[in-house]
Each structure stands twice: as structure tokens, then as C-alpha cells.
């Protein structure tokens, strides 16, 4: 049963969780045998951009040792065999250049989404 995870909101509690919870969940279920892929839409297309850093968070006398490493999360998912796609128009609307995209992330136009959806048995929108 092939599964497509559609992620729309970006940076949802990432500083508290030290990751994106849906990327984390996808890695977890892939580890359990689920052939799950990811489609990034809306603000979540930011996850496809290289070179992000969330280091330096300090709150009062506390400082964060392990900030979220979204690029690493995306790369690990790709290395596990997941297909990760991002919507071209959503990237363009946010000024994210195709040149800055993590290697291996596939760019798809909105017109191509229906064809993508047809390849999956289950589609879960987050």
C-alpha cells in the first residue's frame, strides 16, 4: 500500500521537537515497512531549501543543544528511498530558487499533482 504524505504547514513546533514531526513520523513508519513518500506544498516547500540553520535559540538561562536540522531530515528520508516532491509554484511564490533545492527533491507543477496522486493507494494530508 503506497502512501503519500502531504505536508503543508512548515516549522510547526520544530524548535520544541527538534525536527518536523511529520518528516519524523514518515521516517518512523518507513522504518516499520511503510512505502511512504512526501509532497511539500504551501509553506512546507521551505523544507526543500538547502543551508537552513536554526542554531542559537536561547530562552532565559537555557540554550538549545540540538536545533532542528530540516535539511538533514529531508536528506535522511531521501537516503531511505523516499520520493520527496515540492510544488514549483509554491517555491516561486516564496522566492525559493530551484538552484537552492536539496539534491534529490523533485519539483512538480500543480498541473502534475493529479498524476502524482494517482500513483498512491492512500494520501494523508497534514
Amino acid at each position: 500500500m503506497r502512501v503519500l504524505q502531504i505536508i503543508e504547514p512548515a516549522y510547526r513546533a520544530t524548535l520544541e521537537e527538534q525536527d518536523d514531526t511529520v518528516l519524523w513520523f514518515t521516517r518512523a513508519i518507513r522504518g516499520a515497512g511503510a512505502p511512504a513518500d512526501v509532497l511539500l506544498i504551501g509553506t512546507a516547500v521551505s523544507y526543500a531549501a538547502r543551508g537552513q540553520s536554526a542554531e542559537g535559540l536561547e530562552i532565559g538561562t537555557w540554550s538549545q543543544r540540538h536545533p532542528p536540522a530540516i535539511e538533514l531530515e529531508v536528506t535522511k528520508l531521501l537516503e531511505s528511498g523516499a520520493r520527496i516532491s515540492a510544488v514549483t509554484e509554491d517555491l516561486e511564490e516564496r522566492g525559493i530558487s530551484a538552484r537552492s533545492i536539496i539534491r534529490g527533491v523533485e519539483l512538480l507543477s500543480r498541473d502534475a499533482l493529479s498524476g502524482l496522486f494517482g500513483q498512491y493507494d492512500r494520501i494523508w494530508k497534514w
Partner: protein, 137 residues
């Protein structure tokens, strides 16, 4: 005695749900560092921010042990703000909405956090130089 300059914040998001939580804590931190007194009214899910029952955990997906993961817990963030305020001699007050606490069973909270009601929020806002409401969406 309320300091000459103080800010009141109303927080509404539960922990581990939204990026707004970390942003709110960064604002609280910045306000203290800029010399403002800080008063917080936690409403609805935000009362759980102060729960000392939050526990850090190991993370097999990250490949880190409990100690290595050093997972953040918002109740520790509140304590860290309390400590910063004490170091700077600044006012820091955190009030949890009492009915919200009862609904959620948030009975064990950071030392110094007290129960209150919307009337407390009104008093805090009235005595502060400005107020920022950060609602859930």
C-alpha cells in the same frame, strides 16, 4: 509595586503544537533582556506549558540517547526565564487560567506559577505599558 515598564503577554497554544510557542518564548526572553517586567497569562492549552510532568526522551530516529537528545521541555523554559529575571532583578509573573488547568488536569506546575482568571489578565493588562495576545489558530 509594578515596574515603570512592563509587558503583558497572553499565550494560548499548547506545547509541542505550533511555532508560535517558541516565538512567544523568544519575545518573553527579549523583553526581560531589554529591561521590561514580564507578566504572562496562559489561557486554554497554554496552561500545559508549565507542566512539570513533561519529560524529555531519547529519539531512535535521531539516533540519540536521552542525554544526547537533550529534548526541550517548555516548563524548563519557564524556569529559565524565572532565573533570568531573578539575575536581572526584573519582574516575571506567570498566571495559569484556573478553569483551563482543571479541564486539562495540569496540577503539577513550575514553582511560582499560580492559578488565576480572566480578571487577573485584565489587572495585568491594566497595569502594563502594553499587551500582546498570541492566540491559537
Amino acid at each position: 509595586m509594578v515596574p515603570a515598564k512592563s509587558l503583558t503577554f497572553l499565550l494560548m497554544d499548547a506545547p509541542y503544537e505550533q511555532t508560535r510557542t517558541a516565538t512567544a518564548f523568544r519575545l518573553l526572553d527579549a523583553a526581560l533582556r531589554l529591561g521590561f517586567g514580564v507578566r504572562v497569562f496562559a489561557y486554554e492549552g497554554a496552561v500545559s506549558l508549565a507542566s512539570t510532568l513533561q519529560k524529555p526522551h531519547a529519539n531512535a530516529i535521531h539516533g540519540r540517547s536521552l542525554e544526547e537528545e537533550d529534548h526541550p521541555t517548555p516548563h524548563v523554559w519557564i524556569s529559565a526565564l524565572v532565573q533570568l529575571a531573578q539575575e536581572r532583578g526584573a519582574q516575571f509573573e506567570w498566571v495559569n487560567c484556573g478553569l483551563c488547568v482543571d479541564e486539562r488536569g495540569v496540577t503539577e506546575v513550575v514553582s511560582g506559577v499560580r492559578r488565576g482568571s480572566p480578571a487577573d489578565f485584565w489587572k495585568m493588562a491594566s497595569e502594563s505599558d502594553n499587551t500582546l495576545v498570541i492566540p491559537t489558530r
